[in-house]
């Protein structure tokens, strides 16, 4: 691993870090608001659905900026990875995009309907959120299980991504997003709805814990190269390090979920950060397992330098306006 990494230039690492950062921020932010949409399933009361929606309406579309940034950055800085990933996962990516469109429209049009509300918009918001989360989990699973590349092109079939493992990842991420959404609602709501959110969050936390550990275990058991990274280096010390992180965030969540407002969300986001870190640790120096490395997928130096320089301006700008949006709409949402 160190051998291959040593061949990766600082610029290529920087470019890869930008993609990773955009992906992580996307998962944390949009994962949370997709989670609120997923929880529509558990919420039968129209007034409470309204409140749940009010917490995410000002921010959900801004959160999707990071998906655009990640996708745009990938085609500019790692065109080969982009081409392979989108060719191999074409139906999944399209399902995700269509689900995001339907969901976004459902959220915005919902208020335009005359009363009694056309109940389809709520169903569409739930279905879109769920399918988007499921597709993203399936993308994750497909990436981890490997995409076969030869002579700079995808060589597998249209349905090669479809395995029990990728479906498992999809289902798990839906629950994980639901957990993030419930933790967010604990922070942003009060009274009955908040109590409900606490129950949901606790109920969804355990499956997410199991899912994360199972995913990690699958990587170590099924793949020699992944196992080498986790167990080979310093007698499995990475395993202990990440184990400790998961224990801190998982324990912090379970201890705070009944009493505190903000801490459960911090712990849930922390868990996702740790899981994302574990994913990066599993993959690096590969960009697309089992063979495409960061170096091999990289665009020419000048292209990467141009895009990295642009990102150095763009990313802080997006962070500033997003933070402002969250700050402007801060505080509890009440009936």
């Amino acid at each position: 691993m160190t051998g291959v990494l040593a061949q990766t230039s600082a610029l290529q690492l920087c470019a890869a870090a930008i993609i990773a950062f955009a992906t992580l921020v996307y998962v944390l932010l949009d994962g949370t608001d997709l989670g609120v949409g997923i929880l529509f399933f558990a919420q039968r009361e129209p007034q409470r659905r309204e409140l749940m929606l009010d917490t995410i309406l000002p921010v959900w579309d801004g959160n999707e900026t990071w998906l655009v940034l990640g996708g745009g950055g990938l085609i500019a800085m790692f065109p080969l990875a982009y081409a392979v990933f989108l060719s191999a996962l074409y139906p999944v990516v399209f399902a995700m995009l269509l689900a995001l469109i339907v969901r976004g429209v459902a959220l915005e049009f919902r208020d335009e309907t005359v009363k009694p509300r056309w109940p389809w918009w709520d169903s569409a918001a739930f279905a879109g959120s769920t399918l988007a989360g499921f597709s993203q989990g399936a993308l994750l699973g497909s990436l981890v299980q490997g995409i076969h590349v030869a002579h700079g092109a995808y060589t597998g079939s249209f349905w090669a991504w479809l395995t029990p493992f990728s479906l498992f990842c999809g289902a798990g991420l839906v629950l994980g997003y639901g957990w993030l959404g419930a933790s967010w609602l604990i922070w942003r709501t009060v009274d009955g709805l908040q109590q409900q959110a606490r129950r949901w969050a606790l109920r969804l936390a355990w499956p997410t814990f199991v899912w994360t550990v199972a995913l990690l275990g699958w990587c170590i058991v099924r793949d020699g190269e992944y196992a080498q990274r986790w167990l080979g280096a310093r007698a499995g010390s990475p395993l202990w390090a990440f184990g400790a992180l998961f224990a801190v965030f998982g324990g912090g969540f379970v201890l705070s979920v009944r009493r505190r407002d903000f801490l459960p969300l911090v712990a849930a986001l922390g868990w996702f950060c740790a899981a994302f870190g574990a994913l990066l640790f599993t993959l690096i120096p590969l960009m697309i397992p089992p063979s495409l490395t960061i170096v091999a997928a990289a665009a020419p130096r000048a292209t990467q330098a141009f895009t990295v320089a642009g990102s150095a301006v763009l990313i802080p700008a997006i962070l500033i306006y997003s933070t402002f949006a969250f700050w402007a709409f801060r505080g509890k949402v009440r009936a």
């Binding site: 060719s87 074409y90 139906p91 399209f94 339907v102 429209v105 335009e112 249209f158």
Partner: protein, 241 residues
């Protein structure tokens, strides 16, 4: 129009086949002989000429070379495998420019009527404006067709052919996703248009309360107060400013 002229010069330099297709220029004319502007014609890809051609001599030299005798490389100068489908580019360009000129004419007419104080009574212009509503979109799409079809058969001009850059995803999968996108967008825009229609078709009523009752009064009050403060300040400074 200045931007368009610059754009044309740039395209002439880097994508000469596109300009030749836009102009319907088949043969390369001898240097110094001038280039006509083909106002109308039906480009024939097989016979390499325009049917029913109506052309004005020397005008194309003026806007392409900025003189009265310049010429451009005609389509016959290039291998037939390296030129775009000429009729598409030719007609899309005329649609775009035609609509552009119509919109400019409408703007000028509006300015003239405003100047003469007849704008709000000129029913014909109002109706024409309603008719021109989609012209911006159509012109933009037509221009996009000129750009994208005009650069065929290349994706990277002169280096990478479209046939070589096609993805390995099966054509029916791409067709399926395109169909799904069209379906979703038709539904989304259809429903959105329905909601807009309902909003617009509800006539405003006398003394109807706006979405923010009292907002105008508050703003006015604020402005008056502001004015009073400014006057007070001016008085305090003894008019020294």
């Amino acid at each position: 129009m200045i931007a368009g002229d610059k754009h044309g010069e740039n395209t002439l330099e880097h994508q000469p086949q596109k300009i030749a297709a836009i102009e319907g220029a088949w043969p390369t004319r001898p240097p110094g002989s001038s280039e006509p502007m083909v106002v109308f014609g039906v480009p024939d890809m097989r016979e390499h000429r325009n049917r029913f051609e109506v052309a004005i001599p020397r005008v194309a030299s003026l806007y392409l070379r900025h003189n009265l005798s310049g010429t451009v490389r005609g389509l016959d100068d290039f291998p037939s495998a390296d030129i775009p489908p000429v009729p598409v580019v030719f007609f899309a360009f005329r649609l775009m420019v035609g609509l552009g000129l119509l919109m400019i004419a409408a703007g000028v007419a509006g300015a003239v009527l405003r100047w003469r104080g007849r704008l709000y009574r000129a029913r014909w212009l109002q109706q024409a404006m309603v008719g021109l509503t989609p012209s911006g979109f159509v012109a933009m799409l037509a221009g996009w067709v000129v750009t994208e079809v005009g650069r065929q058969p290349f994706t990277v001009y002169g280096l990478l052919r479209t046939a070589q850059s096609v993805s390995l995803v099966a054509a029916h999968a791409v067709a399926g996703s395109a169909f799904a996108i069209v379906l979703v967008y038709v539904a989304v825009f259809g429903i959105g248009f329905g909601y807009l229609w309902r909003l617009v078709s509800k006539p405003a009523q006398h003394k109807q309360q706006g979405p923010h009752p009292g907002l105008v009064e508050r703003l006015d009050a604020g402005r008056h107060q502001h004015k009073r403060e400014r006057e007070r300040d001016a008085a305090a400074h003894g008019g020294s400013q």
